[in-house]
């Protein structure tokens, strides 16, 4: 997998590159919008990470031009400026996802992976892990064949964790997919809901599936 990073801040670029290389991605980097566009048109990349504020050509203009040239390479926009309006602007220009700074590397990697996968595999109707099953359509949840009653937010939370397929999901991602908040709620809502979900699916069963990863978020997986 080959990723192009278009970012003018050298430290951010270095950090992104090293994180991606660690995950076995091949990485190229350019520092301005114009050369970003040229590289993206000249070579084949699996995905682009594009900062919005760039010299010579903004990230928005880069993506717009890329799409106009008929390229469908997945693009994640990164920005330190406003959140909501920039997200809308970025997605309108043709980006596939938008990540406001400051973001966690784990979050970026998770989004990148889900973006790369999106085009390939079709989602199954039933998600499963060990003896836990979850039907996306009916939201029916079973553990060891026994039915578990979940509230609508609890099932959304479970679905969000199952979809990550064992990777850590950040609190911010959980908030976005369960509550659809575009702001930091400043409460421990996520932790409270996870605790409750844990009681329902993990308390009377083993192995325990929901794991807390301090400083990151939560993961649903078998203990390695």
């Amino acid at each position: 997998m080959h990723i192009l990073i278009v970012e003018d801040d050298p430290k951010t670029a270095a950090l992104l590159a090293s994180a991606l290389r660690q995950e076995d991605f091949a990485v190229s980097h350019v520092a301005d919008g114009e050369s970003g566009l040229q590289s993206a048109l000249a070579e084949v990349f699996d995905a682009l990470l594009v900062d919005i504020m760039l010299p010579k050509r903004t990230g928005l203009s880069l993506v717009r031009e890329l799409r106009q040239q008929g390229r469908t390479t997945p693009v994640i926009m990164l920005s330190a400026r406003g959140e909501v309006e920039q997200r809308v602007e970025g997605l309108n220009a043709g980006a596939d996802d938008y990540l406001p700074k400051p973001f966690a590397l784990s979050e970026l990697l998770a989004r990148l992976r889900s973006l790369l996968r999106r085009n390939v595999v079709h989602k199954p109707a039933v998600l499963a892990l060990a003896d836990l099953t979850y039907d996306i359509g009916t939201r029916e949840t079973r553990r060891a064949g026994k039915r578990i009653e979940l509230s609508s937010r609890e099932s959304l939370l479970l679905e969000c964790l199952l979809r990550a397929e064992g990777r850590v999901v950040s609190r911010r991602d959980i908030i976005v997919s369960v509550w659809e908040y575009d702001f930091d709620p400043g409460t421990n809502l996520v932790d409270v809901y996870v605790r409750r979900l844990r009681e329902k699916i993990d308390r009377d069963h083993s192995p325990t599936l929901i794991q807390t990863v301090r400083g990151f978020g939560y993961a649903l997986r078998l203990q390695p």
Partner: protein, 356 residues
């Protein structure tokens, strides 16, 4: 012309007219006396009593001159003071939001015109420093985001890196959590700076407040469970308002969260939503330590925390209620803080909204 010179001129004109009136009556009386003397000699002239003549001059000449002086002086004063009144009105209506609009100048170069110019200059400088403070916060929060990203990422890599000694992991994790907290505060500051500058983009759609309130009750019930706080929803009338759904949810969550955090074990929270004729009001009341009297008027100030001894145990940045208030304002609504007689704290959010 200066104001002083103008008043002097008006004054002189009024005095001159009065003088003319008095002079006319004096001339008339003297003339009458002379005529009498010419026609009937000294005898006839002596019939004119000097006292009566003087009274006549005072009544017929002095009184009109006096009235003219009073009326003229009154008009004069009113005219002279009108620009001062206008300036006072302009000063009274000056708020942080209209600093950019200068007060209209008379342009005649008098003292008041100069004062208006000075006032406009002051307004302009005040406006500039307001803008500067706003932009500073906005820029600062943007500039902080990139270093925070790098800091966060580097710490993440240290944790993911197998060579980081176990003894350091705990510290790195704790640093990571602090970076996240810092990021949260920076985000809130950026929000407030944008709201202050009127840059908050709000979409205005129809929002069913009663649904948002029910959602809030569900979240609050869970949030408050560990403190054994009871959450009760009283009246919840169906209420439609025009507003930004996301921002209204944010406001409700801030108020709800506030009611949980500033509560005590086994306390209670009660909520109600009322739809009156043209207003929707949401009320949330909670038990807990009441805010000290001197801090109450400052409750929506930034970074204000309850009493100092308590603040260490309460999480949060102290920006929540400021954000809630700016959301209320952006919806042309209001947020009112009260401490009830029984010591409970109550926040009321009202906003315009018609019947369904």
């Amino acid at each position: 012309m200066t104001l002083r010179r103008r008043i002097l001129l008006y004054y002189a004109a009024t005095l001159s007219v009065s003088l003319v009136i008095v002079a006319f009556w004096s001339w008339f009386e003297f003339n009458e006396q002379r005529d009498a003397a010419l026609r009937g000699g000294v005898e006839a002239a002596m019939k004119h009593n000097p006292l009566v003549e003087t009274v006549e001059i005072i009544l017929l000449g002095g009184l009109p001159a006096l009235l003219l002086g009073i009326i003229g002086g009154g008009l004069l004063m009113r005219r002279a003071l009108r620009p001062i009144e206008e300036l006072t009105e302009a000063l009274e209506t000056t708020t942080a939001s209209n600093l950019a609009e200068p007060v209209t100048r008379s342009g005649n170069g008098d003292e008041l015109d100069r004062m208006t110019a000075v006032f406009n200059g002051m307004k302009e400088r005040l406006g500039a420093s307001f803008t500067q403070a706003r932009e500073f916060t906005l820029h600062a929060s943007h500039e902080l985001k990139t270093p925070l990203t790098i800091l966060h990422g580097t710490l993440e890599q240290m944790l993911g890196d197998g060579t980081t000694p176990v003894a350091h992991r705990e510290r790195v994790t704790s640093m990571l959590e602090e970076v996240q907290r810092l990021s949260g505060i920076v985000g809130q500051l950026a929000f407030l700076a944008k709201a202050d500058a009127g840059l908050l983009e709000t979409t205005h759609g129809a929002v069913a407040m009663h649904e948002l309130v029910r959602d809030l009750v569900e979240d609050l019930t869970l949030l408050s469970a560990s403190q054994n706080i009871s959450v009760a929803l009283g009246t919840c009338q169906p209420a439609q308002v025009a507003g930004d759904r996301m921002r209204l949810r944010q406001l409700l969550l801030i108020l709800g969260d506030n009611a949980v955090k500033h509560n005590h074990k086994n306390g209670s929270i009660s909520l109600a939503l009322h739809q009156d004729e043209d207003q929707v009001s949401f009320r949330i009341t909670n038990t807990g330590p009441a805010l000290p009297l001197d801090l109450r008027p400052r409750v929506f100030e930034r970074f204000l925390r309850g009493d100092a001894s308590h603040s260490n145990t309460v999480e949060g940045s102290g920006l929540g209620l400021s954000i809630a208030e700016s959301i209320a304002r952006s919806h042309r609504g209001s947020l009112v803080f009260e401490v009830l007689e029984d010591g409970r704290t109550q926040l009321t959010f009202s906003l315009p909204g018609g019947q369904k």
